[in-house]
Amino acid sequence: MTSWPDRCALRASVFFLALLSAARAEDTFFAKRIAPVLEQNCTACHGDKKQKGKLRLDRFADLIRGGESGVVVKPGDLKGSELFRRITLPHDDDEFMPSEGKPPLQPDEVKVLELWIAAGASEELPLSAIAGAPAPARPKPPAPPLAPDWRPRAAQIAQLETALGLRLVPRSAISTDGLILRTASAPLRCDDAALARLASVADLIVEAELARTKITDAGLAALAACPNLRALDLTRTAVTSAGLATLTRLKKIESLNLTSTNVEAAVVTQLRALPTLKRLWTFDTPAAPPN
C-alpha cells in the first residue's frame, strides 16, 4: 500500500504528465500554426491518400524524415530547408509548390513556416515560444441564411417542378441560400394557379423570375406570401397597380422589376417607400419618368 504522500506525488505527476501531453497535442506551435497551414496547402498531395515524391506532411515524423529527394526541413536552417525554398520560388517556377496551379501560400503562412523552421522546427515548441508570429486568418463567418434549408423538402420540390413545368433552382451550393423560382423555359405555363400551388415552399423562394408569364394580380397574393423573397421580376406581365399594392407585405424585398407592366406612379411611390427595397425598374410603364 502506498502512503498518502506517495499517492499525492503520483497524482501530481499524473496530473503534470496529462498537462504536458495536453500541451503537446493542443498548444504547441506545430499543432496550432504549422499543421493547419500544411493541411490547407500541402497534404492533398503529400498526405495519407497521396504521397507525391514519397513525401508526407500530415505527420511531424514524416515531415522531418523528408521525401525521395531527401530532407525537406532542416531545423534552424531556413536556407537548407527544401520545403521553404519551394514555397518561396517565383510562382511560375517549375519547382514552385504548391504545384499545378493550386493557390500559393499566403504571405502570413510563409512567415509562420519561416519563423518555425528558424526556431528549430520542433514538435514540442509551445505556441507562445515564437513571439510576433502572424495570427491565423479568422475564418469567414458563415453567411446568414436567406431561407430555411430546402433539402428536407427536396421530394416535394421535385413534384412541384414536374407538375407545374417550372423550376425551383437552388441559388447556390449553400442550402440556406434559398431557391430561384425560374420560368424561362416555359413562361406561358406559369399562371396564377401555378403560383397558388407553391404555398408549401413559399418560404424557400428567394428570387422569382416571372417575366413574360401569365400571372396577374390574383397571382401576386401568392408572391406576397413568400416571406423571404428578395428579388422579383414581373417584366411584361399583366399585373396592375391594384395587385402590386399587396407586395408591400414583402418584408425582405430588395429588387423589383416592373418593366413593361401597367404599373402607375402612385403605387410605385408606395413601393419605393419599402425600407428594404434597393432597386426598382419601371421602364416602359405608365409610371416611368418621361425621357
Partner: protein
C-alpha cells in the same frame, strides 16, 4: 492457360469510328459474364465520373431533389441542362461578351496618354521596350517613332473617366463601366491571342468561356442554347482574321456546351426549318426513331457523348419554335430603334447583334458572344478605327443602356475588348495625318459593366507609353477567374478530368480573382 492466339479474332470488320459496330468486351470469348457486367458497370461509372466534380455535385443534388439523377445513365432522353448549383451565390446570371477581334488600340480608346502629345515622332526609348522581341511586321524598322493618339479625349460622368472622342455614345456610360487598363497576354499574334482570351489557352481544343459556364451552371431556358455566338458585318475590311468554331467549341466538354452560332439572314440557324413536305409530326417521329437507336447504343457502351447527341436533336427540335420567336423583332417598340439606331434592323450588323443579345439575355441565355472584326490597324489607323467606332459605338451604348433600363444589367456581365494591345510606336510611316500600330501583348484595355462589377472605376495603370504595366496587372487567366467568380464559380473547383489532369479554364498557372473591381 490458353494462349490468346488459340482463339482467332472475330473476323467482322473493325471500324473504330462507328461506335457500336466494333467488338466490345461482350464479344470476347472466355470472359465470364459477371466480369463483363462489372466492366460495363465500371466503364459507365468511369464515363459518369468523367463528368467531373460538378456532375457529381449535380448528381448528389439531383438525387436530393428527386430528379432522376442517373439520367445520364438511364434509358431515357436526357433532360438538357440539369440545374447545377454555383459554388456560392452568383452576382451574374448571364454574360454578353463583345469581342473586338483584331484588337483596338488602347491609345485611341481607353488608355489616355496626354504626355505623348509632346513626343510626336520621338524615338521610343530603348529602356521602355526593354529588348522585347517584336513581330516580323515591325522588327526590321529602323526607327520606332512615337505616335500620339490623333483623337482627343475628354472627361465624362461623375467618375471623370477620360474617353476618346471616337466613342461619344459609350462615353455616356462612363459611370457604368469598369475600365481595365492593365490586361496582359502571352501571345503576340491573333490566333493564339484570341484563343487564349476565348478558351484560356493558346492551343486549340479547349472549351471556351461560354462552354465552361454552360458546363458549370446548366440552362436557365431549356428552349434555347446556353451559349450563343454571332459574328458581325464589318464596316470595312482590312487585315481581317478568320474566326473559327474552335473559339466557341466545347473542347473536351460535352458537345452540348458548344455555342450555337446565329447567322445573319432569314435562317439564323441553318437547316433548322423542316424541308418542304416534312411536317412537324413527321420530324418528331424521325427524331424519336433516331433517339431510340442512340439509346440502344448508349445501353451497350454507356458513352455520355451519345446522350449529348440525343440532347442536340432535342435542342434542334425545340429551336424550331424558339428561334423564330427570338428572331422576330416586330414586337420591339419604337424606343428600341431610337436607341440602337436604324442599322439594328439589318440582320448581321453589330447593332442587330447587340439587340439580339438583349433579347437572348431576356430569355435567359447564359452566354452570348458577339464578334466584330477588322480592328487590326497596322496602317491607316486613324481612318479605320473611326469606321469601326462609328459602327459599334451607338449599339454598344444601346445594349448597356437597354439592359440597364430593363433591370437586366445588374445580373448581366458585359465585357468589351480585343485580344491584345497595340504599340505606342508607329508601324510604317508616321505623319501628322496617319500612322499604324503593331501588336502589343504587354498591356491592353478592356471594360466590363454590370454583373456585380464596380461601376465607374478604372483599374490598373500603364507607363507613359502604355508599353509596360506599372500597377495592378491583370492576366487573361485573372480575367477568367473573375468572370467565373461573378457566376458563383470558383475557378479552382470548376474542373473536368481530361488527359490525366483536372482541367480548368484558368489553366495550371495560379490565377487570381480581381476582388478590387467587384462591387
Amino acid at each position: 492457360m490458353a494462349s490468346p492466339h488459340s482463339h482467332p479474332p472475330d473476323d467482322r470488320h473493325l471500324c473504330s469510328d462507328h461506335g457500336g459496330e466494333y467488338p466490345t468486351v461482350w464479344d470476347l470469348p472466355h470472359v465470364p459474364l459477371g466480369l463483363k457486367q462489372e466492366w460495363l458497370g465500371l466503364e459507365t461509372r468511369r464515363h459518369f465520373l468523367g463528368q467531373g466534380v460538378k456532375a457529381l455535385g449535380w448528381a448528389g443534388l439531383a438525387t436530393l431533389l428527386g430528379r432522376s439523377a442517373p439520367k445520364l445513365l438511364a434509358n431515357t432522353a436526357p433532360v438538357r441542362g440539369p440545374a447545377l448549383s454555383p459554388h456560392f451565390a452568383p452576382k451574374a446570371k448571364r454574360a454578353i461578351y463583345l469581342f473586338m477581334a483584331g484588337s483596338p488600340s488602347q491609345f485611341e480608346t481607353w488608355d489616355y496618354k496626354p504626355a505623348l502629345a509632346d513626343m510626336f515622332n520621338h524615338d521610343l526609348p530603348e529602356s521602355v521596350r526593354g529588348g522585347q522581341t517584336l513581330t516580323g511586321m515591325t522588327a526590321s524598322q529602323a526607327r520606332f517613332p512615337i505616335a500620339p493618339s490623333i483623337y482627343k479625349f475628354a472627361q465624362h460622368g461623375k467618375s471623370g473617366r477620360w474617353v476618346s472622342e471616337l466613342f461619344p455614345h459609350t462615353a455616356k456610360l462612363s459611370d457604368d463601366l469598369c475600365v481595365l487598363k492593365s490586361l496582359h497576354t502571352d501571345a503576340i499574334n491573333h490566333e493564339p491571342a484570341i484563343l487564349q482570351l476565348t478558351t484560356g489557352n493558346m492551343f486549340p481544343g479547349r472549351p471556351s468561356i461560354g462552354s465552361w459556364l454552360s458546363y458549370g451552371l446548366g440552362a436557365a431556358n431549356e428552349e434555347l442554347p446556353t451559349f450563343v455566338v454571332m459574328t458581325s458585318k464589318m464596316p470595312h475590311r482590312t487585315n481581317v482574321q478568320a474566326l473559327s468554331n474552335r473559339l466557341w467549341s466545347s473542347g473536351f466538354l460535352s458537345p452540348e456546351h458548344a455555342a450555337v452560332t446565329l447567322r445573319a439572314g432569314n435562317d439564323p440557324v441553318l437547316f433548322l426549318n423542316n424541308p418542304s413536305g416534312v411536317e412537324s409530326d413527321l420530324r418528331r417521329t424521325m427524331i424519336d426513331g433516331v433517339n431510340d437507336l442512340n439509346r440502344q447504343l448508349f445501353d451497350r457502351v454507356g458513352d455520355p457523348e451519345i446522350n449529348a447527341r440525343i440532347s442536340q436533336y432535342e435542342m434542334a427540335f425545340r429551336m424550331q419554335t424558339s428561334v423564330p420567336e427570338l428572331a422576330d423583332f416586330s414586337n420591339e417598340p419604337p424606343s428600341t430603334w431610337e436607341l440602337y439606331g436604324p442599322r439594328a434592323k439589318e440582320p448581321g450588323t453589330f447593332a442587330y447583334n447587340c439587340l439580339m443579345a438583349r433579347r437572348l439575355a431576356e430569355r435567359g441565355v447564359l452566354c452570348t458572344q458577339i464578334f466584330l472584326r477588322s480592328w487590326d490597324q497596322h496602317t491607316n489607323l486613324p481612318k479605320n478605327i473611326r469606321l469601326m467606332a462609328e459602327d459599334s459605338d451607338q449599339p454598344t451604348y444601346a445594349l448597356v443602356t437597354d439592359l440597364k433600363r430593363r433591370g437586366l444589367l445588374d445580373d448581366t456581365l458585359v465585357i468589351w475588348g480585343g485580344e491584345f494591345g497595340r504599340t505606342v510606336y508607329s508601324q510604317g510611316t508616321l505623319s501628322a495625318a496617319t500612322y499604324g500600330r503593331d501588336h502589343h501583348p504587354r498591356c491592353f484595355s478592356m471594360w466590363m459593366a454590370g454583373g456585380g462589377v464596380k461601376p465607374g472605376i478604372a483599374y490598373g495603370e500603364t507607363d507613359d507609353f502604355s508599353y509596360n504595366i506599372v500597377k495592378d496587372p491583370v492576366h487573361i487567366r485573372d480575367l477568367h477567374a473573375t468572370i467565373l467568380n461573378q457566376f458563383g464559380l470558383d475557378h479552382t473547383k470548376l474542373t473536368f478530368k481530361h488527359q490525366g489532369l483536372d482541367q480548368k479554364l484558368t489553366g495550371v498557372v495560379p490565377a487570381k480573382v480581381i476582388h478590387d473591381i467587384l462591387a
